[in-house]
């Protein structure tokens, strides 16, 4: 989604401040960043969910082989 130009505030150690609007390049970069961030967030959450699912699957298969809960926990805490 296109975003509007935004304010950039610069602060100096002596407390002085300056405010300007973002340039077209800066606005476009923020827009591109937000799109990439969303892709990264989805990929991260999918990777974590996949790892948890594999772990649960492995535990179930170990139990099916006859290992009791303590033995499964010893292998996959």
């Amino acid at each position: 989604m296109p975003i509007e130009p935004f304010e950039i505030t610069t602060v100096y150690p002596d407390g002085r401040t300056e405010t300007r609007m973002s340039t077209p390049e800066e606005t476009a970069q923020r827009e591109a960043d937000l799109a990439q961030f969303e892709l990264d967030r989805i990929a991260r959450e999918e990777a974590i969910a996949a790892a948890a699912a594999k772990r649960a699957s492995a535990k179930a298969k170990l139990a099916a082989l006859g290992l009791d809960d303590d033995e499964v926990a010893a292998l996959l805490p």
Partner: protein, 187 residues
């Protein structure tokens, strides 16, 4: 006689964005920021020191899971290419890891849940030198109930000199609130 150890690097200026944001530089060099979408530190890496540690703590305000990313910066302009980062995430017994190459930023900090804490050091090796820069971070995050961990290693392969760094929140509505201090390693 100089004392070996950590030396506070007071930014020559900071720049921030985000609706209703504010930021300031304390007399002791500590940067305080509130409701920032981005926060840029200028003039914190110099020829005086090769390596740096950034002590960072923040909460964020938002409704989705997001994270904090960084970019090196030279004379007020962010570097937006040539990052590679590797992470290892643990949440109780759940472990996940991945590597991203040709990225437009480094991702040193785990996303956190709404208004909950995030903290940890970010080490930056050689940013001001005309060589590739290395990053290393270990972060405490929050899974909604308990702490979790996020370890990250990263490189920026452009062999240019950088004097600053930008922190970006990863969500359109997510804002960063917290404090940070940059230290140089004096030898």
């Amino acid at each position: 006689m100089p004392i070996n150890g950590l030396v506070v690097m007071t930014p020559t200026s900071i720049a921030s964005t985000g609706t209703g944001n504010s930021s300031s530089i304390g007399a002791n060099g500590k940067v305080t920021f509130s409701s920032c979408a981005t926060l840029s530190l200028n003039g914190v890496f110099t020829s005086s020191y090769d390596n740096y540690m950034i002590s960072y703590t923040a909460t964020r305000v938002g409704t989705t899971n997001d994270f904090v990313v960084v970019r090196l910066r030279a004379t007020g302009t962010d570097a937006i290419t040539n990052y590679t980062y590797q992470y290892l995430y643990t949440d109780s017994t759940t472990v996940a890891a991945a590597r991203t190459t040709s990225a437009t930023y480094n991702q040193p900090y785990l996303y956190t849940r709404e208004t909950e804490p995030l903290g940890g050091p970010l080490f930056v090796y050689g940013p001001y030198l005309s060589q590739a820069t290395a990053f290393r971070s270990t972060t405490m995050g929050w899974n909604g109930t308990n702490p979790d961990t996020y370890d990250s290693a990263a490189t920026h392969s452009t062999t240019s000199s950088y004097d600053g760094i930008t922190f970006l929140s990863s969500g359109a509505t997510v804002r960063l609130t917290g404090t940070l201090t940059v230290y140089g390693f004096n030898q």
